[in-house]
Amino acid sequence: MTETPLFAYTLRLADNALILGHRVSEWVGHAPVLEEDLALGNLALDLIGQARSFYTYAGEIEGKGRDEDALAYLRDAGGYRNILLVEQPNGDFAQTIVRHLLYSAFAHPYFEALARSKDETLAAIAAKAVKEMAYHVRHTAEWTIRLGDGTDESHRRAQSALDELWPFTGELFETDQVERALIDAGIAVDPLNIRARWSKMLDEVFDEATLVRPSDGYMQSGGRSGRHSEHLGYVLTELQFLQRTYPGAKW
């Protein structure tokens, strides 16, 4: 393994942001209300922006001349390091909202902590992302409450989304050797320090939304080591189509 821990770590952050941003971007033009075309567009834009910053930095760390696009467009699924949660299909609006709440309720405090990283670049990217993710949490929490406490149908859909997606939340809190070393060095964030806040935040939302928090059963994982779900491959066929079809072209 020639990857440095810092490169691997930064790439994970980038991949999470890109894949979730890509997923959310699939909604634009198809949202249930015009205001959500705009709002989901904002969420996607924030995430793609975060991905770009992290990729650019990862490329600098690696020092082999790979830029953001080389990293985003020229790795196959097995090379992607995002967690499984963010690659799950959009499903209905409830699934998209709940997926986003689960992620952003984590990312918001996580980036708050990362903004205090000893790595100045990561700290700077995170500081900018904190403000964005605060909005993501607010927006998706509001919708979760509306759907959970809306009609019978919306409640059923929201609960079902939550039940489906819950097994993917364990991966948010996983760390491995790569991250351990960086956490000890004050560079990476220990996600376990976020857990209580994440959990409390969600409990409050679920409570207001009249949703039942699923119990913590077996948690799916594998994304960090490149073991994804069958969904990611399809995301990449579209994402990478032009770069793969016209190798070396500038756009």
Binding site: G29, A31, P32, L38, L45, E68, Q243
Partner: protein
Amino acid sequence: PVREARFQARVDAEEKIEPNDWMPEGYRKTLVRQIAQHAHSEIVGMHPEGNWITRAPSLKRKAALLAKVQDEGGHGAYLYAAAETLGVSREELVEQLLNGKQKYSSIFNYPTLSWADMGIIGWLVDGAAIMNQIPLCRCSYGPYARAMIRICKEESFHQRQGYEIMVTLCRDGTPEQKAMAQEALNRWWWPVLMMFGPSDKDSQHTDKSMRWKIKRFTNDELRQKFVDATVPQGHYLGLTFPDADLKLNEETGHWEFGEIDWAEFKRVIAGDGPCNRQRMKQRKDATENGVWVREAALAYAEKRKARRDAAMRIAAE
């Protein structure tokens, strides 16, 4: 008739008409029709470009395209709001889009088949839209004029962005990219010229609209302006326009161009363009798939209001 004369005097004096002012029914109707069509065009116009969001060739382009499509949604929102000042609701207007009673710009009935189409749409479609819209910033109806000022600013940003895509493909690109750009121009050029509407001799709505200062130039005037501005840009890109009759008239300084296929224009408006059914299906699907969400939002808002009212009653007791 006195009110009508007074109204016309205000219009002639370039005063803005505001929502609570008296206005002739024809003026209101013309505006509703035009603003609604314009709003629908922004909304339907999200689809052709939205088609490439997931396939954009770089992260920078992906972000820019996403932002652009989102802006179009935003324009739709302002415009529906402007129409609402005339006493129609967004829901009614959307209903009329979906049942075919109101139109949207026919250009969006053409498909986006390659990445170069993202350049062409920005450069030409937005370019033509701006040409149509800049005079509308001085439209006599205040809310519409103000919406157009904001929209035109964003549109001209989009137009530059589109042209920049074309420059990248045509001047810095590989032969394949240049061919892609040329092929896109070949497909879009004539439909873009049709965006200015029927030629003046066949245009129905021009006279009154001119008098009411909703419209300030005729279709043919705007079309000519557009061609004059655009052709040199295309030549700079090294592209060939698909019009054997295109030539500069040295005397007038205008680019003369060939005959537009008005049969195609009418056919596409009538519903037989390449994507009319697809675009309507995309709108209907979004609307139908969102029913349960809108119902949930409404139910929640009502519950919340009921709870707040109850809380206030208790507090008041």
